[in-house]
Symmetry: C3
Subunit: 263 residues, 3 copies
């Protein structure tokens, strides 16, 4: 897995990453794509979705502050992305917290082919269905159950599933990766989950193996967090530093720090 | 008033604070709850409000960028909060600037029981009614008139009223506090008024005496600002520092600096 | 062109700058007005637009995340601004990327008198019409074509046109300025284009010659970026510094660094 090669591709090709995301972290999602070297575009008016997704190299959907109308725009974007054969990353943000989120996540997954479904343990469990939810996903996030959930859902939907947590899991149904990069400070500021989804979307815009794209993005973001935390120990300074690191990080650093296991 | 005990309760219990707030400062409102140790949730789709407010320990409403539909979602949330006996903080942001804001603030206060009404002098005056507005609230913010306005409105609505300004006033109709913590730099960046409302909402999630919760939150936020301003004298650096301080501030600092008078 | 005199006017008069802008950069747009010394107001509910624009000294419109309804609110605001004889700045953000954006930019320009139209080369070309677009505007941003496009559009619409790029161009149809202040780091973070539009809106609130206001704002923002980049070489630190510089920048610095040519 040559993660830095993907980063170089982003810096060279400056892919357009179309987002329909939530209103809380929309700036950070756009900015993380920008500092990586990509071109973020945030647009949601149904009248222009077809054209905007049409100029993009990948599509990021995030239901964090969903409304019924907003999800309708997402569906047009997803259909367009499928038509244009560009990857779709869906962050099932908050799935499990309401029937609306569960239903809309389900509709998005059924209406189009989603290439990468991403969430934390309880969100993915909610998407994977009730019989999985009962297995106690909240006990140890990196346990065998979660790996099985990711792998089973990936096989069923013929997609990549990414479960974030202390360690992240990425499975395409055949290969499964355990990503051990990251830092605890990421959990003390709002938006890091949304931001890493945008990083995954940017990686997938230039790397056709979406399992590699997702695992690479999670490792890369985690490495940046580790470096940022070395000089910034408090959440807000850490966030500033994190963006700076994402901008200048080099091959050597990435290669020395990558901590990804195939399981 | 053991302010730091409230902070410890937040850090231990990690209360969910549901927001329907404005689009300008939504990230900062979420992040301030997070760095305090709480769990912010921003959600406004009418179809899910009942469930989302249902998992929350307090509700924060802010009409800063209101629309008619958005306020309808707020009303569902407020009814749910009343039903579940969790506190509601209403920031009457911009009240007085338009008939719409006055009317919607009025509707929100009449439709449900609001536990804490918060605004600056002219916003609270607009909510309190015309006969109060004429007393010259813009002259000296900490004058007797404002204390009387807060106390009268609190009695009338059987709630806590918080008026922010150079000094902040909190009254539950019986007890009234004057909070002298804070720093002038807070007025040179956007969003500190909204942020402190979210801090009040987080305090009220764990402290049942809402007068104490509001006064404590204002003092705590003010103390953090004082400390931040000691090493960051310009607005944007100050803001970064403010969030960092809110994260690490300890009991000693809070106790030494608390400057709250009962009036 | 006494740029610093305009800044002093802003700091003294604290003009209210009403925005209907995009959801990605709305915080930064508000905050840039605030650190300059102005009073940002973001409000878009059609029921209150007339009153809110009514208390403003200038109006900033930005179609970055437009919807059909949102543009209807913009039209009410623009009509009100014309009625009240306060300046309107329109950022045609993303024009050229979709038919919707082109059509709505056109409608806004036809429905009311826009005082300052602002965009990058391809956005302004899209607004100026097809016969202009074919001249190869993307080749050299500071070439004669762009100056001609700005000047022609300014004459046609009897307004000021600002084209941003490595060098910025401002024309009122008679006078044309080339602004050479700025820094490359501005292009590595999201929102600097929107922010400078808000700076233009704030300058126009106190400076009646809108060509001078626009050119002065672009130079001023560019100077702040140059200074920020001297001590902050990475994008996120640079952004923090940029806001700090905008807050404290003094007459000497502005006068020494202003790099504006009349062409």
């Amino acid at each position: 897995m040559d993660i830095f090669h993907i980063v170089q591709q982003i810096r060279t090709r400056k892919p357009v990453v179309h987002h329909l995301t939530n209103w809380v972290t929309i700036y950070d999602c756009a900015n993380v794509v920008k500092v990586l070297g990509g071109s973020p575009v945030m647009a949601h008016a149904p009248e222009e979705i077809f054209e905007i997704t049409g100029i993009a190299s990948s599509l990021v959907l995030n239901i964090g502050t969903l409304t019924v109308d907003f999800v309708e725009s997402m569906k047009i974007a997803a259909k367009t992305a499928n038509l244009n054969k560009i990857p779709i990353v869906l962050d099932v943000c908050g799935a499990g917290a309401s029937q609306l989120r569960n239903r809309k996540a389900y509709e998005l997954i059924e209406n189009s082919h989603i290439d990468i479904i991403k969430g934390n343990a309880s969100e993915i469990a909610a998407v994977a269905g009730e019989n999985v939810r009962t297995r106690g996903v909240d006990a140890t996030e990196t346990n065998l159950n979660l790996i099985e959930i990711a792998s089973t859902l990936a096989k069923k939907k013929k997609c990549v599933v990414a479960i974030t947590g202390m360690h992240d899991i990425v499975s395409d149904g055949e290969q499964t990766f355990l990503i051990k990069n990251g830092h605890e400070l990421l959990s003390h500021i709002v938006g890091t989950g949304c931001m890493v989804t945008s990083v995954i979307g940017t990686f997938a815009a230039v790397e056709k193996d979406y399992g590699i794209a997702a695992a690479g993005a999670l490792a890369f973001f985690g490495i940046a967090a580790e470096i940022a935390a070395e000089t910034a120990e408090l959440p807000s300074s850490f966030k500033t530093k994190l963006f700076d690191v994402l901008y200048f990080i080099d091959r050597d650093t990435v290669e020395k720090r990558t901590n990804v296991e195939q399981v």
